[in-house]
């Protein structure tokens, strides 16, 4: 769901770890443990593998020791801020198959964009690149959902202005939901740049607020682990 998905979608060239979004239930947990055993995965940070913690939004961090994947980091999570439940995400996923028949199940681009709306500075250029690549690949004869996705998520002022010019009706309608689109319609690029910064900062503040209780809980987990 993370950097590796960004590689497939063209927004990154490589990622040092693999993030998995899973269903946090008992039967799936058993399968995941089997897979982690195959990878000789060792948990390297709090929290421990606990379904309740996963359901609250924590991630569990592993390092693999099996031959061929020595040192590889694997993060497992079941929930992320702003994302729909697993079944909805699964129904919208992209599936890719390689020549050897291996399947790769990826978050859809819109869901990945939502997952990347975090407090981390490095995620925001990724969102721009994801949307821009999606636009590049679909701009010849897009469907209404794709046009709406670009209006909702594009973060490059020049692209928003082009979109507002190409699809003025949708720009006007969607400006009710994303007011900065009025600046794209007016082609006020500097004001648009500032509004995009403000929008990003507001989203980062929401993510920090979301993580505040989880951070405290992580501190408690660390304290408990230190005390054995």
């Amino acid at each position: 769901m993370g950097g590796q998905a960004c590689v497939f979608y063209g927004a990154a060239q490589f990622s040092k770890d693999i993030d998995f979004l899973i269903v946090a239930d008992e039967s799936n947990s058993a399968q995941l443990h089997t897979a982690l055993d195959e990878l000789a995965a060792e948990r390297i940070a709090v929290p421990s593998f606990d379904l309740a913690a996963l359901a609250r939004g924590h991630a569990v961090h592993f390092r693999c020791h099996a031959k061929g994947v020595e040192g590889l980091r694997v993060d497992v999570m079941a929930h992320a801020r702003g994302l729909a439940d697993f079944n909805a995400l699964w129904s919208r996923r992209a599936s890719i198959e390689d020549d050897e028949g291996n399947h790769y199940e990826l978050l859809s681009v819109p869901d990945l964009v939502n997952a990347k709306k975090t407090q981390r500075e490095k995620d925001w250029p990724m969102i721009s690149a994801l949307v821009e690549t999606h636009y590049r690949e679909n701009s010849h004869g897009p469907n209404p959902d794709q046009i709406e996705f670009w209006f909702r998520e594009a973060r490059v002022p020049e692209r928003l202005i082009t979109l507002a010019s190409d699809y003025p009706v949708q720009a006007s309608v969607l400006s009710q939901q994303r007011p900065l689109l009025t600046l794209a319609i007016a082609q006020d690029i500097e004001a648009l740049r500032l509004a995009l910064d403000t929008e990003r900062q507001a989203e980062q503040a929401l993510d920090r607020a979301y993580w505040e209780p989880l951070r405290k809980e992580l501190e408690e987990f660390r304290k408990a682990e230190r005390q054995g």
Binding site: S15, D17, Q119, V156, L214
Partner: protein, 74 residues
């Protein structure tokens, strides 16, 4: 930046298919490891996961065996 504003290297990357990107990424990843790149995440103070437990303590500029002999001017 828009596709048109991107450096040629990035445009070439975007023009690949998803599977071609994945295959190329494997090559880049192998080169990264061959040069001593670490698999620890880079320290990121803006991340809620940033922690000595999960972040690499190694130098961000290269493999652990490398050291800076001379720093450039600011």
């Amino acid at each position: 930046m828009t596709y048109e504003q991107m450096p040629e290297e990035w445009q070439e990357w975007i023009n690949l298919t998803p599977m071609q990107r994945f295959e190329q990424s494997e090559i880049i990843f192998a080169n990264y490891l061959a040069q001593g790149g670490t698999l620890d995440p880079d320290p990121d103070p803006t991340s809620p996961f940033d922690n000595a437990q999960t972040s690499g303590a190694g130098p961000a500029y290269g493999r652990p065996g490398l050291r800076v002999l001379r720093r450039g001017a600011v």
